[in-house]
């Protein structure tokens, strides 16, 4: 049994090393955001001055506002389109061009963003020449992010839709519900949780994107990642660390709160099911 013991320890060691690898950069970012030294790698005592300076950093603040607006619009649009696409792929087994459709839904997940950004921009420029619309800016960045976000939203919602018990929808139809009623009253509440996850995921993807935004942005439309990227390119910058710490704090709070709410909802549903089974 020495082999099994060794395996258990080896497994634990491998997992710990892996998580250390994943989290070390995040820890380093946070630690050095409190560093009282203009050279971020040399520790010289604790300070909050980098945070205090952020509100006056108009470039960063304006970028943040634009990014939040785009991320909000992207997440909403991506969840609507993603739900439709997931529904089409799961519920409608056969329609013309289904293979092309599923290919186009999945491709943006892996397609290098440089190619997606360049091609979308070149098309929009042609469109602008022909129709005088759209100007490069918030709208064009949103289109690019929507494309990427829709792919992620579809994958998330699709996997939930596939796990649903079709008998529930059939039962609703047997009881006389119209297809739209089945969708709004039965299917939607059951996939709502995955739609929330998809919304949050696409929101963060949009908030983080550099390449698509760089291609699709116009004059005056500089998103926060573009500001961060241009500073990071030049070298280490304490303002970037401060932004990172705020992001990490917000994400941690958000994720903990969401998982708590989801766990509570699950528990309540389990209790209701148990009560219904007893009755």
């Amino acid at each position: 049994m020495r082999g099994a013991r060794f395996n258990a320890w080896f497994g634990r060691g491998w997992l710990s090393a892996g998580y250390l690898f994943l989290y070390l950069p995040i820890v380093a970012l946070v630690v050095y955001s409190f560093n009282d030294s203009p050279i971020p790698n040399v520790w010289r005592g604790f300070t909050l001055k980098w945070f205090a300076r952020l509100p006056a950093d108009t470039e960063m603040v304006n970028g943040l506002w634009l990014s939040l607006k785009i991320a909000f619009l992207t997440a909403c649009g991506a969840v609507v389109l993603g739900t439709m696409a997931a529904f089409a792929l799961v519920k409608y087994r056969r329609f013309r061009g289904r293979t092309l459709f599923s290919g186009m839904v999945n491709a943006p997940l892996v397609m290098p963003e440089v190619v997606v950004g360049l091609s979308l921009l070149l098309m929009l420029v042609q469109m602008q020449r022909a129709l005088g619309y759209p100007e490069r800016g918030l709208f064009t960045i949103w289109l690019g992010h929507l494309l990427l976000g829709m792919a992620y939203a579809t994958v998330v919602i699709q996997s939930r839709l596939q796990d649903l018990n079709p008998q529930l929808e059939e039962a609703a139809m047997d009881l006389g519900a119209r297809p739209s009623q089945v969708f709004w009253l039965v299917t939607l509440p059951m996939i709502a949780q995955s739609m929330v996850s998809a919304w949050l995921l696409t929101f963060t993807i949009s908030l983080d994107d550099v390449v698509l935004s760089a291609f699709l942005s116009g004059p005056g439309a500089t998103t926060m990642p573009l500001v961060i990227f241009s500073r990071a390119r030049l070298g280490l910058n304490p303002s970037v660390n401060a932004v990172a710490t705020i992001t990490v704090a917000l994400v941690s709070v958000g994720v903990i709160a969401t998982s708590y709410l989801i766990a509570r909802a699950e528990r309540r549903r389990a209790q209701e099911a148990a009560a219904a089974a007893r009755a």
Binding site: A28, V42, L81, A88, P108, P112, V114, R233, S259
Partner: protein, 307 residues
């Protein structure tokens, strides 16, 4: 006509039609336009249309000069090769780290598995750009990782292998580039592998043991072949985007790690040569089209199999 209209406004027509139209217009059509521009001639400030009306006659001007130029210029060839090389190295590293990782996750106690999974997904939610930037700090002079690697003498070995330019200079090298890409894409390898390994029927391993296989043999002959779909899905999720990666080479790469994403970027933003940028992009699409088809096939199969 009315029938078609009614179908369009019925639930089903709209559910399929709206996302379909969106993807055709904003994903597929742009690729045709990129191809069209790649064969257009460059004029003073802008490119010429492929189809022009001259004295009432429609003229088609197609120029394959850019493609000829790419095949003849050694720089482009070297850059494409380097992109494929770094993407392949990253994929292999992700597999070497990620497979055992996903395996031990899937064999951990059922009660801790959701937490382990959550911990792999969490970095997704914090900015990827900021995490790549963090490696600049960790690998720079006096950085934590740099100090540790120098303390154990790993930098000497890497310099001898040509992974870094000189001992102590870890940043802006093939080493830091591949490390950054491996770091960023590791979750994309772990997640499909975990999904695959977690639902494996463990009785198969018992059967193998009953038939006299050692755990090691059972692992290679049962577990690994059964996780083939996960290996392929994970590898494609890492390899394809890495070929065209731009941000990581820009922040962690160096002068000798020029990748093709940067070339497209420079042709477009610095040289303003849209036809050339398009040509480079078209050739890149051709390079990744086979992996892309493999990925789509396995993705579709996995989705069908779940029913």
């Amino acid at each position: 006509m009315t029938k078609a209209l009614r179908r369009l406004f019925s639930g089903r027509g709209a559910v399929v039609g709206l996302p379909y139209a969106f993807l055709l217009l904003f994903f597929l059509l742009p690729f045709f336009i990129v191809f069209k521009i790649s064969v257009s001639e460059m004029e003073a400030v802008t490119f010429k249309d492929v189809l022009t009306l001259k004295e009432g006659v429609l003229q088609l001007t197609v120029k394959f000069g850019n493609y000829v130029f790419i095949t003849q210029d050694a720089l482009y060839f070297k850059t494409y090769l380097a992109s494929l090389k770094y993407a392949a190295a990253t994929t292999l590293l992700c597999l070497a780290i990620g497979y055992p990782f996903a395996y031990f996750m899937a064999r951990a106690r059922a009660t801790v598995q959701p937490a382990l999974l959550m911990l792999v997904m969490l970095p997704f939610w914090t900015s990827f750009l900021l995490r790549v930037y963090a490696w600049r700090g960790l690998l720079a002079e006096d950085g934590w990782v740099a100090e540790a690697l120098i303390a154990i003498g790993a930098d000497q070995a890497m310099a001898a292998l040509g992974l870094i330019a000189a001992p102590g200079k870890l940043l802006h090298s093939p080493f830091s580039l591949v490390l950054g890409m491996t770091y960023t894409y590791l979750p994309f390898m772990v997640l499909p592998l975990y999904g695959n390994l977690a639902k494996m029927d463990l009785r198969l391993l018992e059967a193998a043991a009953d038939l006299g296989a050692t755990p090691w043999v059972a692992f290679w002959k049962v577990t690994v072949p059964l996780s083939k779909a996960g290996i392929i899905a994970g590898s494609m999720l890492v390899f394809i985007p890495c070929v065209g990666e731009f941000v990581i080479p820009e922040l962690l790469g160096g002068p000798e790690t020029l990748m093709i994403g940067r070339v497209i970027w420079d042709e477009f933003f610095s040289n303003n040569d849209w036809p050339m940028a398009s040509t480079v992009a078209v050739v890149m699409i051709l390079l990744i089209i086979v992996p892309l088809a493999v990925f789509n096939k396995y993705q579709a199969e996995a989705q069908e199999a779940r029913r």
